[in-house]
């Protein structure tokens, strides 16, 4: 028993105290639980729903299920609630996978018994495909809704369609015959606000009126979005991808993928995009799709009861999310594989593929943009590229990498400021201010006034003879009667030069605003603003190269390809390459990004330029800091995320990392058959660890197994309710055979069913490299360290994350909030440094009620632990 501790934190308030000291809160939850019948809320379950009240209803529930007092019956029955997790805890992948295999075996063995069982097993086998189908359907439909509504609301800022209020600008002028070649978006049905309010379509008065209305709408959309987020679902803010990455790696954030989060995120995403803030809807769509996946997985017991299986569905759902966000099904699957997923077996790959397919199909049949495409900025190029163009492409890659490194640094610094100073206390005000600044600066510049997706579309589109925008204002010679497709390089006209100026201003504006926008408390994605920045830079470079080639076609690099009158430079292609490079610099994705972009363009011939640019941008970005924006945010928030991409290069041993450290009190352990219920309850109350190794006896210290705190709590509470004769002095027995007891002693409590008989162990001389690998590959939650079969200590995932953090001292340490919490419970050792006698010095927490209330804040904070 004299060794030490493991897992802390977590569990404080909503744990065991109700047994010894029913604080007011628990009392009422339990009391109400009797009325409420919590059967429903239990399958309401883990990722979603019930934050603080976790254990209690399962316990109450336990009391009402079956009041059999027969000891042996009880052992066969699984105790409800055992094997579930608390909020902000890490799951044990190995245990979950074992549970699933056992379940599968049980269903398989019953299969032959009856037709009903057969149907059940078939349903079980198909449920994986069913749940991804439903997820795909829902995320496609929601993406359609978001697209249509966001387009409409964006256009609401400038005017309204009087003939049919629900049409956006483009749809309003759909059938109009009065559009002209020069002013394609003008039609009598569409009224700007100035026309409606002061009756003028032209002139400074109408400009000012439109300006005011633009700011008004932007501010009101932003205000609505942030207040809805604040009142109904705070988890709906942000892009969601860092949290989803963490959840997929095996972390529980209750309510993060719930119904309210889904609804509020969908609704406010539209408002946020429409408010003209420098953000996109792509990242949040991944979150929306994951919410759909989580909600649908409740319909299927195979997924609702198993956290590891649920994460397979979430992987598929995130693929569906990207599939609808970019209209790139394959890119979505690769995104799930490369960026978000942690555990990605082949079966999940196929399911992700299918989910992406279904989602893309649904979105295509909704046809939100009226262009028979899944995204607004779909483009098709037919012109080839030439070898010398690789040089500007690589330059764009360098720009992308620099932008990525700058953005990550600046944004993280800003977010840390928000996190740690008072300034973070005013989320609504912050959003309003950012929206106001964005709107005021954005309106005068036509390129920033546009919806960002439309801006990207315009930049991607090549200048054919059909284009009339100022970006395509080249000096034409009218009499050249050539075929349309092959327009030679031409000298730029005045329009192009003024457009370049405006684009430069737009670039600076976007760069600054995006840094301050990402992380405000509305749903905000990063993909679209990054792509816009890259596209602007790319287009500028493209036009520059084009003009260079036109005026200096006798240079030897141009000589071969760019004769006079030949069409050799496509500025639109540069915009696309730039967009890919910037996105790559920020997210550090490679394969999936290239695939997403070439699915956007429908041309395979541009893969090499894209690859060159993306790879360069990754190299340049990595030179300034190895992590992408999502990892940086994970680190900023201190989530327990073990990145599989990082290498561990240090030479420490397991003994250096394990807890207890040298000066720490010894590990809290349970013995297999000579502790009483009271002893265990005390141990749970006094410590805050989430699990306890079980040893043979204090003398031998040999390992028997591992028992989790939550399981122990639930099992003891349910035994006290259901079994007669379980009192404080009952022996708790983890062993196979009950030890012989004196005749008058109360009957023992058998807890072998909750004991993990096969905990992972390493010896104290195992190199940390191997331990880290084991944790990553198997998804362990904890691992015991032994020496000659005796337990020395324990390593948890949190210890490893902490250790990696320490080793990375050269990288600026970010405060990991739940790593350095103080223990709340009185230590299990006396002031003289010796262990307190556990049997005599029983500290019941009966007098703790006031302290409970005052420390609510603290313990809630603490419960956000591994």
């Amino acid at each position: 028993m004299e060794s030490e501790q493991l897992f802390h934190r977590g569990y404080y308030r909503n744990s065991y105290n109700s047994i010894t000291s029913a604080s007011s809160d628990e009392e009422l939850l339990d009391g109400a639980g009797v009325i409420m019948d919590f059967q429903t809320s239990e399958d309401d379950n883990l990722l979603d729903g019930d934050a603080a009240v976790g254990t209690h209803y399962t316990m109450t529930n336990g009391g009402s299920i079956n009041s059999s007092t027969h000891l042996l019956d009880l052992l066969d029955e699984p105790i409800p609630g055992v094997g579930t997790y608390d909020d902000f805890h890490t799951i044990d992948w190995v245990r979950e996978k074992c549970k699933d295999r056992e379940r599968h075996r049980r269903i398989n063995s019953k299969k032959k018994e009856s037709a009903w069982e057969m149907t059940k097993s078939l349903y079980d086998a198909w449920s994986g495909w069913l749940v991804v189908t439903l997820t795909g359907l829902a995320s496609g439909a929601l993406a359609g809704l978001i697209d249509i509504a966001a387009d409409w609301m964006t256009d609401l800022k400038e005017g309204i369609c009087l003939s049919a209020l629900w049409y956006n600008h483009e749809q309003c002028c759909w059938g109009s015959n009065e559009t002209t070649f020069e002013e394609r978006d003008k039609c009598p049905e569409w009224k700007t606000w100035a026309e409606l309010i002061i009756g003028q379509a032209e002139g400074p008065g109408s400009y000012i009126m439109n300006y005011i209305m633009y700011i008004f709408w932007a501010l009101s959309f932003a205000f609505l979005a942030v207040s809805l987020v604040k009142v109904f679902a705070p988890y709906a803010c942000g892009s969601g991808i860092p949290e989803i990455k963490t959840i997929l790696s095996g972390f529980i954030i209750r309510g993060y993928l719930g119904k309210w989060t889904l609804m509020i995120k969908t609704i406010t995403l539209v408002l946020a995009v429409a408010s003209g803030l420098s953000l996109g809807k792509e990242g949040p769509l991944v979150h929306v799709a994951c919410c759909c996946g989580n909600i649908f997985s409740y319909l299927f017991p195979k997924y609702s009861t198993n956290e590891a299986k649920k994460r397979e569905v979430l992987s598929a759902a995130s693929a569906a999310g990207v599939s609808v966000a970019f209209g790139a099904p394959i890119g979505g699957v690769l995104f799930s594989l490369e960026e978000v997923s942690y555990y990605f077996p082949l079966k999940t790959l196929w399911r992700s593929f299918f989910a992406a397919l279904v989602a893309a199909f649904v979105l295509r049949s909704i046809n939100p943009f009226g262009n028979s495409r899944l995204v607004l900025f779909y483009v098709e190029y037919h012109t080839p590229w030439y070898l010398f163009e690789l040089f500007p492409f690589i330059l764009l890659g360098v720009f992308g990498g620099l932008w990525g490194a700058f953005f990550i640094r600046a944004n993280i610094a800003w977010c840390r400021r928000r996190k740690s100073t008072k300034f973070g206390k005013y989320p609504v005000l912050e959003v309003i201010i950012v929206a106001a600044i964005t709107a005021v600066i954005a309106f005068p510049n036509p390129y920033t006034r546009l919806n960002t997706s439309e801006l990207i579309k315009e930049l991607f589109t090549d200048c054919g003879p059909l284009e009339s925008s100022s970006l395509c204002d080249y000096r034409n010679d009218m009499n050249a009667s050539k075929i349309v497709d092959d327009i030679p390089d031409r000298p730029a006209g005045l329009g192009v030069y003024s457009a370049i100026w405006q684009l430069c201003l737009a670039l600076i504006f976007k760069i600054i605003m995006t840094v301050f926008t990402f992380g405000i408390k509305v749903p905000s994605g990063l993909f679209i603003p990054s792509m816009a920045i890259g596209a602007i830079a790319g287009r500028i470079v493209g036009i520059a190269v084009e003009q260079l080639a036109y005026y200096h076609h006798d240079w030897f690099i141009f000589k071969e390809w760019c004769e006079v009158g030949a069409d050799c430079i496509t500025p639109g292609l540069y915009a696309m390459v730039g967009a890919a490079a910037c996105l790559g610099g920020v997210t550090r994705m490679t394969v999936s990004l290239v695939v997403i972009v070439f699915e956007l363009t429908g041309g395979l011939e541009y893969i090499v330029p894209l690859m060159a640019a993306v790879m360069t941008s990754k190299w340049v970005g990595d030179a300034f800091g190895r992590e992408g924006i999502y990892e940086a945010h994970i680190r900023l928030n201190g989530y327990p995320f073990l990145d599989a991409k990082e290498e561990f290069t240090h030479t420490t041993l397991a003994a250096d990392v394990m807890r207890p450290r040298r000066n720490d009190p010894p590990l809290a352990v349970l013995t297999q058959d000579n502790m009483t219920v009271d002893d265990i309850e005390n141990m749970i109350n006094e410590t805050s660890y989430n699990g306890f190794p079980v040893i043979m006896s204090k003398e031998s210290q040999r390992l028997v197994g591992f028992a989790l705190r939550r399981d122990l709590t639930i099992a003891i509470e349910s035994a006290r309710k259901k079994q007669e004769g379980i009192v404080g002095s009952s022996r708790v027995c983890f062993a196979q055979h009950t030890p012989s007891l004196p005749a008058e002693s109360p009957r023992p409590l058998k807890l072998r069913s909750i004991l993990d008989m096969s905990p992972f162990t390493v010896t104290d001389h195992t190199p940390m490299e191997i331990v880290v690998d084991i944790f990553r590959k198997l998804g362990l939650r904890q691992c015991l360290v032994t020496h000659n079969g005796t337990v020395l200590g324990i390593i948890t995932k949190k210890n490893i994350v902490e250790h990696l953090e320490q080793r990375k001292q050269h990288v600026e340490p970010l405060t990991p909030p739940w790593h350095y919490n103080k223990k709340r419970y009185p230590p299990s050792y006396g002031p003289d440094g010796k262990p307190r006698p556990r049997f005599n010095n029983v500290q019941l927490n009966l007098t703790d009620e006031e302290r409970e209330e005052t420390e609510e804040e603290v313990c809630l904070l603490n419960s956000t632990t591994l």
Partner: protein, 198 residues
């Protein structure tokens, strides 16, 4: 009573959300069946040619007829030039579903409207009602939670009261209060303590 409405609304909103996916899907089918005449167009963009300025032509026409010869009706050029002119025009056949757009916008606005009403109710109306109903003593008590003027601040109180009565109404109220507690919890961790999502 007020809480009942809130609860009912909550249930309703959830139902509507789950129906949303299905309804949008159904809509697609519906709108396909009753394709509006105005929902297809063939749009030809013709660039400037000789002394003709550029022009956009727009016509409701079936997909197979969507070409320059059918759409450009008063042909601006004469016989021999028609071919050259038409070669430069780009014709695109497009279709949309106005029913889908209309219904989507209506669904979206109604959900948004309901949410806003509920939000206004929770933040402004409910605290006033509570004060009026429970009088002054309650007022002093609720002042104890210092500075917590956020909506739902009284969730604990109501939870405590609700266990004494047991009927359907209370079930709804209880569920609502439990949800409020969760949101309060989330709000604390996101906005006050900044442990997630900062």
């Amino acid at each position: 009573m007020a809480a009942l409405w809130g609860g009912l609304f909550r249930l309703g909103s959830m139902l509507s959300l789950s129906c949303l996916a299905l309804s949008v899907l159904l809509l697609v089918q519906l709108s396909d069946a009753a394709k509006n005449f105005e929902d297809v167009r063939c749009k030809c963009i013709c660039p400037p040619y000789k002394d003709n300025s550029g022009h956009i032509y727009n016509k409701n026409i079936s997909q197979k007829d969507c070409d320059c010869l059918h759409v450009v009706d008063p042909m601006p050029v004469l016989g021999p030039d028609v071919e050259a002119y038409c070669l430069r025009c780009e014709c695109k056949y497009e279709e949309r579903s106005s029913v889908t757009i209309k219904v989507t916008i209506i669904i979206y606005l109604s959900i948004l409207g309901l949410l806003l009403l509920y939000m206004v109710y929770l933040t402004l109306v409910e605290p006033i009602l509570k004060r009026r109903l429970f009088g002054h003593s309650q007022l002093i008590q609720s002042d104890d939670d210092v500075g917590d003027h956020q909506p739902f601040a009284n969730a604990h109180d109501v939870l405590a009261r609700s266990r004494s009565r047991a009927n359907v109404l209370n079930k709804v109220e209880y569920a609502q209060q439990r949800w409020k507690l969760q949101v309060q919890e989330q709000r604390k961790s996101v906005f006050d303590r900044h442990v997630v999502l900062s």
